[in-house]
Amino acid sequence: MPSIRTNGLTKRFGESVVAVDDLDLTIEDGEIFGFLGPNGAGKSTTINMLLDFIRPTEGSAQVFGMDAQAEAAAIRDRIGVLPEGYGFDDYLTGREYMKWAVETKDAADDPEELLDLVGIADDADRVADGYSKGMQQRLAFGMALADDPDLLILDEPSTGLDPNGIQHMRSVIRDRADSGTTVFFSSHILSEVEAVCDRVGVMNEGRLVAMDSIEGLRESANGRASIELTCAEAPSVDGVADIDGVAEVDVAGAKLTATCTDPKAKVEVVKRVDRRTEVVDILADNTSLEELFNQFTGGGRDGDGDVPAGEAVERGDSREVSA
């Protein structure tokens, strides 16, 4: 039985805003599923419907085969949630919040162990409202872990965490997954999902635009590497296009750009060109998952919304210079 299943799940706000549009999603028991998408893609709205915070306009959602709306209480007994937009606004300490979570879940956990696990045991006597964002995130994560839930639903879990905290949270998530917990994990950061998840669904503008394993995504991404050589004089194209794994060669002035289906072909391109012309600069564009993500989502809020087909989207930070 799948842990989560949605059928035509749709949420409209008012007349014109479609936050989630006809979503069909199945998360199998025991997997770590990454739910990826730019801000406003509909990830949190989907999660809020799974948790019965908001109600679907159309369609339905099931958790452990139970209707998310009708059997919300029974579902909450078996899940751990790190929600978005939470607040520790009662005048209670971190320890008291943790005890409350353990008590409400009727769990056998020792609150101290959980506090220690998420690294806030030393601050447990402070009022949680005064915690930094990262510490609140740790506390909320710890509360989600209480009672060893069958399903962890984590909405943007790394928000506000320092790199050590992110590392640690990942290892805890993997530990829990290894012992059989299903993890449903939303994020707008691809590297995070890449590091933990078995399978990824990409949301954009309320729709699921891609759904694959990390390996599957990587394979599609690897099809699109390119290399750009700046030469002392206009290079000759002869022979370059014949190299195995090179799909296309383009020369503009002193610049030669080769698009490769196999990233390994890039080295051969450099050697071949360098034999005849002096190469001044090399720019290799390793099309990463990130660019694929950008292609799926049309650049998110910052893009023009068009989904470019096949060509690498230029992004400074994903380029590497190898010379």
Partner: protein, 293 residues
């Protein structure tokens, strides 16, 4: 029991509010002051203490709604705006658990405030008069707690309907104006408005029973009449003077029986019960349906 866990946590957090303690102390001081001032009337010690508690109910009639509204208006709206609701409903709680838990704890807080006043008033009475008329003390206490609960119900309903703090505040102010102010000050009184609509707009003959019945829909008058039920006959207040027949004297024990059934003191039980339950049902239905972002 999730309801109890929700209530316990809510109550625990409230107990740490300095503002709440300040309010409780202030209430106690007011009660002690009333006890002190009312000590100069004539009559036996027990009579004086009875009239002290009657005077206390007059003050509570106006003051307690403020206490109850302030204590409860953020019960749910505050959780929604502050994000506490996300934890409440991620844990194995239903919306009903949250609603009922909040209801219990906020009633507890208001009862605590009333308790402060009663302890202060009883202490003053014992010190000055050495009398403890248990019937009147516990009778008015019970009626007062019910009265406080009606406003907790109203405030909780408002809080469920409001998605934000600011709307909840507006709701609390509006409630106090509509349910208390309009029945206290002679210039803008509900009975006058009803009379004006009935005689001037509709052109009918004056009918005091009707105007009094309209007034009687408020928990404030319900409370004042309910207090009569626990006071000795000679201490009762005639609230609807205009409906008492001319041949019956106001102070007599028959003044209440001479009224139509729906204006009698006993009917206050119905009025308070409606205000206790009605808002809760509406509030719960709104909360159950709400999208909690």
């Amino acid at each position: 029991m999730s309801t109890v866990t929700v209530a316990k946590k809510d109550f625990k957090a409230a107990r740490r509010s300095k503002l709440l303690w300040a309010a409780a102390v202030l209430l106690g001081l007011i009660a002690a002051f009333v006890g002190y001032v009312s000590g100069n009337a004539s009559g036996t010690d027990a009579e004086q203490v009875r009239s002290l508690f009657r005077a206390l109910t007059l003050i509570l009639g106006i003051l307690l709604p403020i206490v109850a509204l302030v204590a409860s208006y953020l019960a749910i709206a505050g959780e929604r705006e502050g994000g506490g609701i996300k934890f409440l409903l991620s844990l194995p709680n239903t919306r009903r658990d949250v609603f009922v838990g909040k209801l219990l704890s906020r009633n507890g807080i208001v009862a605590g405030g009333v308790g402060f006043m009663y302890v202060a008033a009883v202490s003053t009475a014992l010190t000055r008069h050495g009398a403890f008329p248990a019937g009147v003390v516990f009778g008015t206490l019970l009626v007062t707690l019910v009265y406080g609960s009606t406003f907790v119900s109203v405030a909780l309903a408002m809080s469920s309907a409001a998605a934000s703090r600011s709307r909840a505040i507006a709701g609390a102010f509006g409630t106090y104006f509509l349910l208390v102010i309009l029945y206290v000050f002679p210039v803008v009184q509900v009975s006058r408005i009803a009379r004006w609509v009935h005689t001037t707009v509709l052109g009918a003959d004056p009918n005091p029973d009707l105007y009094n019945a309209v007034q009687y829909t408020s928990p404030y008058l319900g409370y004042r009449k309910a207090v009569n039920l626990v006071l000795p006959a000679d201490m009762r207040q005639v609230v609807f003077i205009s409906s008492v027949p001319d041949e019956v004297s106001y102070g007599s024990a028959e003044a209440n029986e001479a009224l139509p059934l729906y204006l009698q003191d006993e009917f206050s039980v119905v009025v308070l019960a409606v205000w206790l339950v009605g808002p809760l049902l509406i509030g719960y239905l709104l909360f159950r349906r709400a999208d909690l972002e």
